[in-house]
């Protein structure tokens, strides 16, 4: 499933005195299998953008095309499309409502009108994907779980619909390092196993450096950069000018280069920086 966004503009409160342009002429295309990171400052329009991708918001102008079909065109079944494009909101644990974990996860598949055997299979699979033990948690109340577990239940609720594209709005916000790592490795597995296309909104450049194959940078409603993490993180000036950071590894690399060490300019991952530093150390010790 491919998604194409064409000249998307969204204005909140159009025509009134307090109208604000949240998105301004944004265009890009998403190919199957990509892991796209959407980064931007608070209030830059990221959340508005992702809500357009499954038709929860209507563009003021412009189009969102899913497999070449206009999402907001006439006669399009948006409810069916929403199940193919799964959207996990910010703090999704606040949308839990059922008595048991299994029932809550089954809400999406039930709305799809699936048979009870299929629903059960999907609930088990989704719980497995988010590393929640079915035997232990299925019959528990979701409100008795820890924050990180609740979030994983909520994500499982979207995964159970088996979407082809998964969009997550800051899935690691407010979690401790362990909870964060769990979610990120879960996303890595999901992409490797089910070939799900993933879009993730995040503030954490470290997360993006680890996972993303492509970055979209948004500032004040405009798409200011679109490229591989290597290309984007090399543009340090642009990133800092719009209030964003670059990964620690990229920072350290830049500082070392400024101090006269011979390092490539576009390092941004901890593992590749480590290799280069070991190489330098060996060279220094050799003579």
């Amino acid at each position: 499933m491919s998604i194409e966004v064409r000249h998307l503009t969204h204005t909140y409160g159009e025509g009134s005195a307090i109208s604000t342009v949240a998105l301004d002429d944004v265009s890009f295309a998403i190919e199957p299998g990509e892991f796209i990171g959407i980064v931007g400052h608070t209030g830059s329009g990221k959340s508005t953008l992702v809500q357009h991708l499954n038709g929860l918001l209507k563009p003021t102008s412009g189009q969102v095309l899913v497999d070449g079909q206009d999402l907001n065109g006439e006669g399009v079944n948006r409810r069916a499309l929403r199940q193919r494009i799964g959207l996990v909101f910010q703090y999704p644990e606040y949308q839990l409502f059922e008595e048991t974990v299994a029932k809550d996860i089954a809400f999406g598949p039930k709305n799809q009108g699936l048979s009870s055997e299929e629903i059960d299979r999907r609930v088990r699979k989704a719980m497995d994907s988010v590393h929640l033990d079915y035997a232990k948690y299925a019959e528990q109340s979701p409100f008795e779980l820890s924050g990180g577990q609740m979030r994983r239940v909520a994500i499982a609720g979207v995964l159970a619909m088996e979407p082809e594209v998964l969009i997550l709005d800051e899935p690691t916000a407010g979690l401790d390092p362990r909870g964060r790592d769990r979610i990120l490795s879960m996303l890595e597995e999901l992409r490797a196993k089910d070939h799900t296309t993933i879009l993730m909104v995040s503030h954490s450049m470290e997360d993006m450096a680890r996972l993303a194959t492509r970055l979209l940078v948004i500032s004040e409603g405009k798409l200011v950069a679109d490229g591989s993490p290597r290309e984007v993180f090399a543009r340090r000036d642009l990133m800092t000018s719009i209030g964003l950071d670059i990964p620690e590894s990229a920072k350290l690399c830049a500082a070392l280069r400024a101090a006269g060490y011979d390092l490539p300019a576009d390092l941004y991952r901890p593992d590749e920086l480590k290799e280069q530093l070991l190489r330098l150390w060996k060279e220094a010790n050799a003579c």
Partner: protein
């Protein structure tokens, strides 16, 4: 989705009426309601109309906005008018047709009752349009203050009102968010019959209640950690003061009531 519902219709401009002491405004509104009930002639209503018009000009509120405020009441108004018109006993028959009998007295009563309702709504909406909800609950607390002697929880009541008003937009926002999240999971809030629609509210209401309770707990904790312990010995940030304008407003209202009473005595 829900953000277009305007709650608490405070009209934020700066005017002499807006600057009046909210306590005075509240009392004057009650006086105005009494004045409306004292009127028994059309000339009296003309006086009231003139007064309302002047006040709305002073308050810089578009007169249209006041008229708009009556709109939601139109069914009640029509009903009041018709019921009084058809079912009031009277002697001077104006129209008699089949079982319908309209008398002069009935027509008079129908018109007066409807006008009374209209002016009651307009009078109170002048208060809410020119007074912020916070100022209004302050005023209520201070006016109910003497009742504290008989252990009436005036401060607590006003605090609850302020908090409730403060959280209306927050909860509306939250509703919007949860609704979208459930729609992303294929929930359907729009179609189906009454029962299935009521059922579809469960995924919306449960999270909403959970979050409202969580927020209430958080707020209580935050207030207690700042040593909030009720109204006892509490001083105010905004001290309300009665000024020259407030006396003028009182005088104007007294004048209106006097005119209405005199007109009632001498012209009937």
């Amino acid at each position: 989705m829900l953000t277009n519902i305007t709650m608490g219709q405070y009209y934020p401009v700066d005017s002499p009426i807006h600057r009046l002491d909210p306590r005075v405004k509240l009392v004057l509104t009650i006086a105005f309601i009494v004045a409306v009930f004292l009127v028994h002639t059309l000339l009296g209503y003309a006086l009231i109309l003139g007064f309302v018009y002047l006040v709305s000009r002073l308050a810089k509120i578009p007169f249209k906005m006041l008229i708009k405020g009556i709109k939601p009441l139109r069914m009640i108004l029509i009903l009041t008018f018709l019921l009084n018109l058809f079912f009031t006993a009277g002697e001077t028959v104006l129209v008699e047709f089949w079982i319908i009998r309209i008398t002069r007295e009935a027509l008079r009563q129908a018109v007066f009752y409807s006008l009374r309702l209209i002016f009651l709504v307009i009078g109170t909406s002048v208060l809410t349009l020119t007074t912020s909800p916070v100022a209004l609950s302050d005023a209520i607390e201070l006016l109910l203050g003497p009742l504290k002697k008989i252990h009436f929880p005036a401060h607590e009541l006003a605090m609850m009102m302020t908090i409730a008003l403060r959280f209306i937009p927050t909860l509306l926002d939250e509703t919007d968010k949860i609704m979208k999240a459930q729609m992303a999971r294929g929930a359907d809030f729009e179609s189906g019959n009454l029962i299935s629609r009521a059922k579809s509210m469960v995924p919306l209401l449960v999270p909403l209640f959970v979050s409202a309770f969580r927020r209430a707990g958080d707020l209580a904790m935050a207030m207690e950690s700042r040593c909030y312990h009720g109204g006892e010995g509490r001083t105010r940030f905004r001290v309300l003061k009665v000024t020259k304008n407030d006396y003028l407003a009182c005088a104007a209202m007294a004048g209106l009531i006097a005119l209405i009473v005199l007109e009632g005595i001498f012209l009937t």
